[in-house]
Symmetry: C2
Subunit: 291 residues, 2 copies
């Protein structure tokens, strides 16, 4: 929620070639993109390590999920397979060192031989990440959240994007698919996408008419009003009033104009209850307000 | 969203006795409370000024929507009708000067003779108020937001609660009902209640397992492991480990126990991929994390 708009969510499967659940989910979604499509943002699915998957290994040269550090991504030459992959992922998800990233939210799919059940491994402190984690906790009562702070610098795949986390589900052996764990991962991702889509309805920038001042009716020495709201001003709430435009018309038919240099918007123009309060309208400035 | 939980929403109608839309909506909801009932919080409907309504007047002695100041609420004696009402409202909605209020969100229903269309008059800066305003803007494209900063101290009815705003719809004469404006007000309130109910799904406090340290397998001088995860520890992820409880069992059958004083939770216990990384499990502290 720290940003105004989620534009892209990236789901990564096959980060570890022998963690089949995420790998097969990614393949499934690449074939059926509508399953992960939601209103308000684009969803990309990335199969991260095809080569390791084919060899049913976690990685070829080194752990991809420990290779997304700034140092590796910035290095001029990388002969290691996963370092090359990390650089490619950085193009798709990052850039890691840029505030403007391709992916606003990264979901990285993992499994573990440990008996962790459904769990999230969170290693960033952004508000949206925690909101999403909290929402999923409310939807999946058994879901556990593990905050990883073991690294000096995040080198996880999900660290390339602005927000996100890894999903870890187990216990399941490497190189094995289980329908129950596949389904759990799938449901978790769908709920998360639904949440991100709903969240996106609320912009953090709002157009508002900010009160500047009150304008009283023209009055005589006894305080009696000497003019009415001008017929061209009547009913024009939330419309801009420029210098020299009519504001009031006297009972003699003389027009009284707006004299300020700054154009402002009229609000509560000719509200009955405000005659006694001593104003004919409010003037407001239109602003974009971010909160 | 600045709080963890919305417990009560209060809808106030009839704040001004001659603004019939809110008055009749309040009467309707008092008879049919299910219409404003939502999951996650209690909704109260208050008819604010019966006497002024009967006399088809904005107020009897003074404007109720300018009477909810600290000074009036704290005053020992109030002979004025609306000052007494303000004190009663403060009991139902406030207390105004207390962080713990009865109402977390106040919706105060008004109409105006000005041609304001559907609008909100916002006079507080809380995040939840602005989120709600922003959400309603997205749902009602013609909705206008007017931020009122004309008072030194808020004396509006909605200032008694933590969050909220006034709904102003017009143009409509005083003492008149119009079906179109009645319906607009009704829909605005329903959408707002739906939003507050959805929002409430996300708690801002989350239970998490916070990483403390890694525990390696016992190893010999060559770095070979000399023990396995103990059978009582296996599969016990997210369970508490107390001092002297088994951690490992050597190939000779000797138990190796946990020696720290602080009980911690095991995570990633016996994850295959971590043998080479040099740890048998992570230890974590269970905390309540607020964000």
């Amino acid at each position: 929620m720290s940003k105004n708009k989620i534009k892209k969510v990236v789901i990564v499967g096959g980060t570890h070639g022998n963690e089949f659940t995420g790998a097969y989910l990614a393949k499934h979604w690449l074939k059926n993109p509508n399953l992960v499509k939601r209103d308000g943002f684009k969803t990309d699915v990335v199969f991260a390590n095809e080569k390791a998957f084919k060899e049913v290994r976690r990685y070829i040269d080194k752990d991809l999920n420990r290779s997304c550090s700034q140092e590796i991504i910035k290095s001029a030459n990388s002969s290691l397979h996963e370092e090359k992959l990390a650089k490619e992922l950085n193009q798709k998800i990052g850039p890691k060192d840029d505030r403007e990233k391709n992916a606003d939210f990264v979901i990285d799919l993992h499994t573990t031989t440990a008996n962790m059940g459904m769990s999230l491994v969170v290693s960033n402190n952004s508000e949206l990440t925690w909101l999403a984690a909290s929402y999923l906790s409310s939807q999946f009562p058994t879901l556990k959240i593990y905050r990883w702070q073991g690294d000096e610098e995040g080198a996880y795949v999900n660290s390339l994007g602005s927000d996100g986390f890894a999903i870890e589900i187990g216990a399941i052996p490497q190189g094995v698919l289980r329908a129950d764990i596949y389904k759990q991962s799938e449901e978790l991702v769908y709920k998360l996408l639904d949440f991100l889509s709903k969240l996106d309805e609320v912009s953090r920038t709002i157009t508002l008419y900010d009160h500047v001042k009150l304008v009283d009716f023209p009055r005589d020495e006894e305080g009696e009003i000497t003019a009415m709201v001008h017929q061209n001003r009547q009913d024009s709430d939330f419309e801009l009033i420029h210098k020299s435009e009519p504001m009031f018309i006297t009972f003699n038919g003389e027009t009284i104009v707006y004299e300020d240099d700054e154009p402002l918007y009229g609000v509560f123009i000719n509200e009955a209850a405000y005659y006694e309060k001593g104003f004919a309208m409010c003037l407001a400035r239109k602003i974009e307000y971010s909160f």
